[in-house]
Amino acid sequence: MRKQRSAVAGPKAKALGLGIGGIVLFFLIWEAAPRLGLVSDRYLPPASEVLVRLGQYLTEAAFWNDVADTMTSWALGLAIATVAAIVVGLVIGSSRFLRRATHTTIEFLRPIPSVALIPLAVLIFGTSIESTLLLVVYASFWQVLLQLLYGIADVDAVANDTAKSYGLGRLARVRYVIWPTALPYLMTGLRLAAAVALILAITAELIIGTPGLGKQIALTQSGGAISSMYALVLATGMIGVLINLGARILEKRVLSWHPSVRGDVVL
């Protein structure tokens, strides 16, 4: 514990190095598995082959268009879901009546798979981006909402009493007390939702056939182009890593006061 604290070589560089190390390790295992014959390389080509294919993709404009399409539905869907969940969460979370009255409904709706809603979505919105958005929003909304509700419940009783005694009304308490307390939970919810939104954006493209990475994955799958498919999956995973990186940077900024970021507890 102590050693880490006095670490001189930039801890950031070290963290980055370890992270890259982890990924390299993963690629090595992936490379070895088909080469050693653990799985047939016709169904899981070695990492190098997939990486080469990914490299080709990266030079194609069509690939970047697909990425842009997917990221558009992702960003829009996530934004709508987050804003909706924050509004709904703050309203429900700060009223006991609403919390109790909505409990059954929320628990009933949450486990409904977005995939099952595809026919309904297409029926309502056709095969336009709205359908994809509906699925993305439906799936990621609950993640943020639930985390937020738990965050709101985490408000310190003394802090809340303090705010009340100084005449902070409900809105002011939401703004100054409840929101900051729930923020760490919200950030976790956001990270969960970001991945789910990406997954749903791709799945929706895959099934509905709107343009994007998902459609491309479906094409490579039905065309039997295995390395291309894994290259696209790899791209998806990398987008996930980048999204997380962004979330971490955001977290550092908005949670600088929080023990998890300020790090009094060195672990």
Binding site: S40, R42, Y43, I118, P119, L120, V122, L123, I124, G126, T127, L206, I207, I208, G209, K215, Q216, A218, L219, T220, Q221, S222, G223, G224, A225, S228
Partner: protein
């Protein structure tokens, strides 16, 4: 509207699955057959009926592509759909077809009857493929009620066969070719075994469109007819166009068996299919061929 006139094209959207079966539509578009009929064609793709059928029902698409099994089930369930054109059929050649039941190279299974008590995968259950498979097994002296069918998507089927997770798989091109390339063996070309040039799929529309816009349907049918004929006559053009909208590797594409692109339904084969569908409980009532086919 003036046929072939360039000034007032009627927009029409067709929802299809991007596979070899729909090549004529792409060809027709390329060749200008639709434009000639005064149609401004847009092709939308999906992986299956889950998205196409609702889009047809709500009028988002005017026409769609679906396999005949699904269409029979849909009509049986009372969905307001109407078939408008033939689309694709098997080759009818029991030694080389676009769909086959494959087993691994070292499998002890030699005949369809050997499948008794075994596991067979198809891409979708209670549908065209398993109906055909059951029927051919029973005709070959087996007992299909002892065979268990599981759903595995085509791309993953040959892996499942090779790893012994299933005993046989009913797959279509390009996976027949790749299965053969990888040392697997065709047990039976199921479609051809079942009937001569069995229609696999069809283009369909909603009852509302058929009733309300007969002119559009007629134009589409005319353009489709030209496209299907052209495709049937130009297999090289078919292979070339498939390369543009699928990701099938070129070397595989060169070897796949192309289906037949008929302009008319094979009524006998479809009737046999509907009877089999009834027999195996896929539909509750056999469709009336006079109203089912266009």
């Amino acid at each position: 509207a003036p046929a072939g006139g360039g000034d007032a094209l009627t927009p029409v959207t067709v929802g299809v699955i991007p596979i070899a079966d729909t090549a004529p539509l792409y060809l027709g578009f390329d060749q200008g057959f639709f434009e000639d009929e005064g149609l401004e064609l847009t092709i939308e793709t999906a992986t299956g009926g889950a998205a196409i059928v609702p889009a047809i029902v709500n009028g988002d698409y005017q026409f769609g592509f679906s396999n005949l099994g699904s269409l029979m089930v849909a009509k049986d369930k009372g969905l307001p759909l109407e078939l408008v054109s033939a689309a694709v059929a098997s080759t009818g050649d029991v030694t080389s077809d676009m769909g086959a039941i494959v087993v691994s190279g070292d499998s002890p299974i030699e005949t369809l009857a050997d499948l008794n008590g075994k596991t067979v995968s198809t891409n979708s259950l209670n549908n065209l493929l398993d109906t055909v498979a059951r029927s051919t097994i029973d005709s070959a002296g087996g007992d299909s009620s002892t065979v268990s069918f599981v759903e595995i998507p085509f791309p993953d089927s040959s892996a499942a066969v090779e790893n012994g997770q299933v005993d046989a798989a009913f797959v279509v091109e390009p996976f027949v070719t790749s299965a053969l390339e990888n040392g697997n063996r065709v047990l039976s070309y199921g479609f051809a075994e079942f009937a001569d040039k069995l229609d696999i799929a069809a283009y369909f529309s909603s009852a509302a469109t058929v009733a309300g816009d007969a002119e559009l349907v007629t134009k589409f049918q005319a353009a489709m007819k030209k496209s299907l004929e052209y495709a049937q006559a130009n297999p090289d053009a078919v292979r070339a166009i498939i390369a543009t909208y699928t990701e099938t590797p070129a070397e595989v594409l060169a070897k796949i068996v192309l289906p037949t692109y008929p302009t008319e339904f094979n009524v006998d084969a479809v009737t046999a299919l509907s009877e089999a569908a009834l027999k195996y409980g896929v539909v509750e009532n056999a469709p009336d061929m006079s109203t089912f086919l266009p």
